[in-house]
Symmetry: C2
Subunit: 380 residues, 2 copies
């Protein structure tokens, strides 16, 4: 797999140490921290071809390639990152990191708080998208990248990309915002709250100190993941994927056997897998950061005033069946950018897969992203 | 309140005993059982003005009026049932019952199984919509109602109304189907499965035998209710109701206070109230019956063949922002009825309130229902 054409092949994550710590938006200070990241493709002499990938809720630094020969699945955005792909590693030096607060190697709730010598757990400070952007800027400094050719992200990653364009206008040449929004709707917040309550209601959550004990809140995390799975897919996508197919049981008259639909066992399986691989405190932190995100809040709730801070050119992409971050939300971004006099391209991709579409190999999506990245690479 | 114009006033529930039991679709037999019901308005001499109300997932027999002077809220469909209202108790004799499997007085998981002398709990037999219809037919016999002027229901109640028209064609003159579907979509099943898993994951569920102990699965039930609340409302309705209003906390830079959105506390409150008033085993039973429902299954999956069994005239109503039982699903019902040569009226009501709209006082909805019921009352 690692030697397949278009693959970046075997990659090794690296870790950066930041002894200086970071002042957070919540007012607390994160002491000494680490960021784990991966790079694909060579940085050019002018250091002008670097692309930053910001991850979404459950993402991490491993966006492309394989960690070893035995790894069966490549990084989460391998469809778009690699030699000859939309984000072409023959042209770009791609950097992908795990955000602080994460659970895949960067400093997060599972890490030791150097000030107490104990695991952070639920005491990890609350985070905002801007904290991630600030920590990513520190990583940029360390890597000697003064300006990103592009900052790219989907969903929560797209929100970070927009925040980059406001917080560090000169450091972002292009900003690619996929399936995102200026802020969450009440419905979005409600689904996130549901997921949080599922975790908090699990007695194994132990007020967040589950790592001190034997158990982890598997059931709560599994429920949270199920909520994500249902709402990140469209009704049509679920119908196509599962219909009302039975996995077991029968509808025959007189039968007592338990009828179970495919979609039920799929959701239970996905929830169960996720609960073994993700940290509950990270999930709470990440969904909170999503809920808090409101790009224009400090600009008098005026997104035009907000985007007036930006210098970057923007590419905004949405998906027709995405009902959690609908095309309407993307058009609000586009309209504000136009009103602010910014350069912006917009594409709504026809796709049945709902919000999940941003991670999937959809030809028109790849073509649109590829064409835009050509322009980025040509210095456009 | 009970003396307000348009109110049926103080009503007293009645209980009917069925010593003969009921053969269920699952093959098991429900022994001796009870149905609790209420009646509003007089039955005429011809016994031709009776209307049956079928309730939805969390509904019950108390559809209109007040149980006593101190009751603050009237029955769940008081907006539509009463003298001079859409379902006019000056013209109709309205019967509303709690279904078997329920938790408001009819035989259900909280009842004693007469064959064992112990509470049914999780051993209550699994139910289908047709079981409810069959038990309602037994109640009709007891009340001496040979034919209903109309069988009316919203959501799961609409599914029972359709089943009535197929199972007992001659006993239904009009069938009013509101915010329903021929069968659930995979997404609908997924949301129901999520709610079930929330209950089953609660350690207080105790494999369904929680009534034997001290605790009830409050947290699981509360989560299940939250899922319902979010998905029965539209995105727009939530935005209008809550926006991103804060209940507590502040977004000021440097603040550590916990930001909490209105929608979060609302959901937690609603979930908590529900968990005190509803039975977890009933919730599991009811959502299963919803998932199993498939009107045309035994007719070769052909809804036209199914509706060819019916004699009734139909009124189908849907709501523009209902995304769990969308207008598209209602149009499938209407199209099949037309193809089957049945008489059918259809109205899509413009409403922002999502699936919940069927319970709300929406003027055009009341007008449409009222006009149709006029026709029913005139013997049309």
């Amino acid at each position: 797999m690692a030697e397949a054409p278009g693959s970046v092949g075997i990659v090794a994550p690296q870790t950066a140490q930041f002894e200086q710590g970071l002042e957070l938006a919540c007012g607390r200070r994160l002491p000494r921290f680490e960021l784990i990241y991966e790079c694909y493709g060579e940085l050019n002499r002018e250091r002008s071809n670097a692309v930053l990938i910001c991850h979404a809720l459950s993402g991490h630094h491993h966006a492309a390639g394989y960690h070893n020969e035995d790894e069966r699945k490549p990084g989460w955005w391998d469809d778009c990152i690699g030699p000859g792909k939309a984000i072409d590693t023959n042209r770009f030096h791609v950097v992908s990191l795990n955000n602080i607060g994460g659970c895949h190697g960067s400093t997060g709730p599972r890490s030791i708080n150097p000030e107490t010598g104990r695991v952070y757990g639920p005491d990890f400070p609350s985070l905002r998208a801007r904290d991630w952007v600030n920590s990513q800027a520190m990583l940029s400094d360390l890597l000697g990248i003064e300006q990103w050719a592009a900052v790219i992200g989907g969903s929560l990653g797209g929100m970070q990309a927009m925040r980059w364009a406001l917080s560090y206008p000169k450091r972002v040449r292009h900003c690619v915002v996929i399936a995102a929004a200026l802020k969450l709707s009440a419905q979005n917040i409600a689904f996130n709250e549901l997921a949080r309550q599922a975790i908090l209601s699990d007695p194994d959550y132990q007020a967040g100190h589950y790592l001190d004990g034997e158990s982890i809140p598997r059931k709560g995390l599994a429920l949270a993941r199920m909520i994500g799975h249902i709402t990140y897919l469209s009704d049509d996508a679920m119908a196509e994927k599962f219909g009302r197919e039975l996995r077991s049981g029968t509808f025959d008259q007189g039968s007592e056997s338990r009828v179970e639909f495919q979609v039920e066992s799929y959701l239970r399986h996905q929830g169960s897998v996720f609960s073994e691989n993700f940290d509950a405190n990270t999930y709470l932190l990440m969904t909170r950061a999503l809920d808090y995100f409101d790009l224009a809040r400090e600009y008098g709730d005026d997104p035009v005033a907000a985007f007036s801070q930006a210098i970057a050119s923007f590419m905004v992409i949405s998906f027709s069946s995405d009902w959690r971050f609908s095309s309407q939300r993307s058009r609000e971004i586009v309209n504000a950018l136009i009103a602010a006099g910014r350069e912006v391209s917009y594409a709504e991709i026809e796709a049945d897969q709902g919000h999940d579409a941003f991670l999937l190999p959809i030809p028109r999506y790849r073509d649109v992203l590829s064409a835009y990245m050509q322009r980025v690479g040509d210095g456009g």
